[in-house]
Symmetry: C2
Subunit: 391 residues, 2 copies
């Protein structure tokens, strides 16, 4: 084992003692109350795509995020797919997204027949770099009749998706300003940032439309689940319509007026979501406390930098991570392997999306920081329970 | 109220007494055991897209259907979408489907970038008419190098989806023979026919790939759920890969080698599915008993014909229905409205898919029988519990 690996394991171990092993990455957690919600759901007979828990879950999400409208969906990926569609993304449009993201961000663009256009992130937020973005757009675009075009491909640059990496808010104000200037729709992929605030306001409420995720690895879970947030009533109605097979309301006729989807969150999963929402504040507090403990533990290590929430952001610290400054692929891989052997499930960032075979031909800016972070970042065990002792 | 409406209500009432009201169309039903499966799922901590209940549910489906491979998916629509993709359907292909179906059958074709091509059904099965199909294909197609082309549009006619309407098996052997002759992939949409046999073999096991559904209105439910069936190992592996974001297995790296989907059934929903499977035989028996009672009740009505299972089929009688022989749209609408007023939730068939705005330009054969059935068919309350007294 390398010295670096030994030091990192020791830093982790001082925060998460060995007796807590095996240490998953994000373990969901359930309370006795969660079970009673599921029982109530079965007793009601409503388990499928219609039911009171779906509405209740949407109300809870409204109240926590402050979004005017919420449409629950079967997962975060399809929530983002629909968010893009209702924001106006069409076949052969381009959509600016970070290459540093889970594959769903790019897939959601592709499902709409549009083309992911990759831009770089910065070291402060691990989200899209506004300075680099602005300079890139000024070079490659021209605006005609309130539409931004890629000069090279001639395709409209219709939208930008800002993903809030590991729960930390990206540079929302700066990027929104650029999008407005270039007539690009601003969309948030807030899959990881439920409970995170930017300038005291919940992430996911700044974009024209945004997507949340409640997958098993998220801060709260529905088993599978997601949601679309917006302040625009027309967009919200369209999103609901699209996720419910675009059926025209009628007591017995089955008429549908456009291509729709079977993407509504089942009531069973919404019931679990409602129960989990009662724990959200506690989980956020525990995750923040865990982050503080990690930050302290890594403070004196010169070559390892804990990823703190950027300015203006109160993060949910969904996923804690450190950078091995200047590391290469082999070094971080050795560290990861050693951590696994020691019983700590750590992982790197996602392989940069522009390197995946199906996206290699997509347009892109220089992605130096994205590539660097793929070699430098190690994500640490981050379950809420691990922070409980530090609250 | 018209005489016809009064007579039909009286026939329904003799089978389903008023004290059973309000009478939903298909009410799911839950046993104490179902709760314990959900509790076990929460206790295990595995609620999301990986977990032992997903595997168990797939094994149960294998054993009941006899399919060699089963891949659980988040609903029947996406199961059919993936079934078409793994069967080889590509952008700008045409896929033959009945116009008499739920909109998901056509949408699943569209999601693959392919074009629905509507064909007619017959009165014996309410499924694709093999005689009419054969004559139509001989007229409009030509086969080049083992690919069938639509002579008019020049597009490949890549696949055909046989949907087993209301649980009754379509003319599987005849249609499969035609498909083989024309080099068209044969796929089954068995969303409605879980528990239905054709020549003693389970529906969904004749096609190259097939799709099942476990939506809340189906004979058993996962809240939301579906499955892909096939006997081909390569196809099954591809379907599993596509439904799980096309992630390349690795202990920590996130690599994906093609466009995939977040379509895996969550373990929570699979847990409910496993519990429900224990009741499948009973629900099928109860639904068959209910069908017998309806058949008897309508036997003496000259203008109303109960839709019996066709030859070679032991149907699950998922949805019981009658034809008002020679009825027009207004007449059947009056009858439906009167039944609703009397507390019986009945409904017509789906609006024929070729009449929906988004599919009006799609190629089609003459669809006389489909149009006729839209005016003639009334679907009756069909919950398993309503048949319990007739077992």
């Amino acid at each position: 084992m390398t010295t670096l690996a030994r030091e990192i394991i020791s830093c982790i171990e001082s925060v998460v003692p060995k007796e807590d092993k095996p240490i998953g990455h994000h373990e969901p957690e359930f309370q006795p109350d969660d079970y009673s919600y599921l029982k109530e759901c079965l007793d009601s007979g409503w388990v499928s795509t219609v039911g009171p828990f779906v509405n209740k879950f949407e109300e809870l999400l409204k109240s926590v995020t402050g979004a005017k409208y919420v449409v629950a969906a079967s997962n975060g990926t399809v929530a983002l797919q629909i968010a893009l569609q209702v924001a106006g993304v069409k076949r052969d449009d381009e959509v600016l997204i970070p290459s540093l993201s889970f594959v769903a961000t790019a897939n959601a663009v592709h499902y709409n027949g549009a083309i992911p256009h990759f831009v770089d992130v910065n070291l402060e937020t691990f989200g899209i770099d506004p300075v680099k973005l602005n300079s890139y757009l000024s070079e490659i675009t021209e605006v005609h009749e309130a539409t931004c075009f890629n000069k090279k491909t001639k395709r409209p640059l219709r939208a930008l998706v800002l993903m809030h990496t590991f729960g930390h808010a990206g540079s929302i104000d700066e990027i929104k300003t650029i999008c407005d200037q270039y007539h690009i729709e601003f969309i948030e992929d807030a899959a990881e940032s439920m409970g995170s605030l930017y300038k005291k306001k919940h992430t996911g409420t700044f974009g024209k439309v945004s997507a949340l995720s409640f997958n098993g690895n998220k801060i709260i879970t529905c088993g599978g689940g997601g949601a679309i947030l917006t302040d625009d009533e027309t967009i919200a109605k369209h999103a609901k319509h699209l996720t419910t097979t675009a059926k025209v309301p009628h007591p017995w006729e089955f008429q549908h007026d456009e291509i729709g989807y079977n993407f509504r969150l089942p009531n069973l999963n919404a019931a679990l979501g409602c129960a989990q929402m009662k724990q959200l504040n506690r989980y956020v507090t525990e995750k923040r406390s865990l982050a503080k403990a990690y930050a302290k533990s890594f403070r004196n290590h010169k070559a390892v930098l804990f990823f703190e929430a950027p300015e203006n952001c109160e993060s949910n610290y969904w996923l804690n991570s450190v950078r091995l400054i200047g590391s290469d692929f082999e070094t971080r891989t050795e560290v990861i392997a050693a951590c696994h052997e020691a019983g700590y499930f750590v992982r790197p960032t996602w392989a940069p999306l522009h390197t995946l075979p199906m996206f290699q031909e997509c347009p892109r800016d220089d992605l130096a920081i994205t590539n660097q972070l793929y070699n430098e970042v190690i994500c640490l065990p981050s379950s809420a329970r691990l922070g409980r002792r530090y609250v």
